[in-house]
Amino acid sequence: MTDMGDEELMLQTQKGNVHAFELLFERYRARVFGFILRMLNGKRHDAEDLMQDIFVKLFKAREMYEPRAKFSTWLFAIVRNHCLNFVRSQAYLQAQRTESLDPGDEPAAAPATGSGRAVNRGSDVTERLELAIQGLPEMYKDVFLLRAVEGFSHDETAHMLGLNPATVRTHFRRARLMLVEELEGRANAGQAVEA
């Protein structure tokens, strides 16, 4: 079963094969967790809870999956929607406000791995890049993460976000220019980001 494609595994899941879904979870857990963590600005506890919530909901909604759709785009579209709902939720906003008053709480952004420590701790650029991505405006961040970090095409990203591919290209370029400016300064960012 391990050599089956994602879509075939999802069909097996629809037939009640729990092991097939566990294989899908194994394949995507790191990518999905990284995506959630970045969408939630490095909040690990929230990311862990949301990760569990999303995969259980995915399993419950397995009948909704249409075999014509690429599994990864279906998965990330759902993950992204859950993340957005979460960060827009009243509970999350309230926690953000409380945290801003109490800086001793969980750090707002911390590149971390499963062991709770950062990989490439010595890489200042990598840490700054993580923080810069987290600081992008919401729509630019979605586009950038899906396109540049997760490797989806512009068309796939557009499909997941319900946007025109041309809009995705524009958002992606602006996100990229913002990141370069953040990392290297305006002088090296090429052209200025147009408002």
Partner: protein
């Protein structure tokens, strides 16, 4: 090609997925435009940095919780092999009803308590069943009968099996 379009196609240029004609046009523009040349180089450097981003592995306890939750969502197959003593779950499987239904008959079905658990002797349960058995007259004008379809895989004891014998 202008600078905006050039900038929007740069990542696909670096991925090597642009059609030949667009790639040629972009290269011509970049050769003539210092701003776009700088942007292309910055785009290339950013791409290199992105490859260095850490992979975030979720903690093992999260994976375990997901696995447990998924299994809890999965309907459990009914057991068919039973020992002489049944617990509540096994009794529900034995009687082919859910646990809630069994709960309604606790006190009626002979049982005993051991270690804080209700247990049932299979032989006593069978006696209890025998005491409740009656001959059901499946008359054709009985409304409930109209709803039953005799399936090919009906097993002895199912109402559909009884109907099949009568037909």
């Amino acid at each position: 090609m202008n600078c905006d379009i050039c900038g929007e196609w740069m990542d696909e240029y670096l991925d090597g997925v642009l059609p030949d004609d667009v790639r040629t046009e972009l290269e011509s523009h970049v050769a003539a435009c210092a701003g776009c040349r700088a942007e292309l180089e910055a785009c290339r450097r950013l791409g290199q940095n992105l490859k260095q981003l850490p992979i975030h592995i979720p903690p093992a306890q999260v994976c375990l919780r997901v696995s447990e939750a998924i299994h809890a969502e999965t309907p459990r197959a009914r057991r068919s092999d039973f020992g002489p003593v049944l617990d509540l779950d096994e009794l529900a499987d034995y009687l082919r009803v859910d646990k809630k239904t069994v709960g309604q008959y606790v006190g009626d079905i002979p049982c005993f308590e051991l270690g804080g658990r209700l247990l049932f002797r299979k032989a006593k349960v069978e006696e209890w069943i025998a005491g409740r058995e009656t001959v059901v007259d499946f008359r054709s004008d009985w409304p409930a009968v109209q709803k039953w379809n005799v399936s090919d895989n009906a097993t002895k004891g199912d109402v559909s099996w009884v109907l099949a014998q009568k037909n």
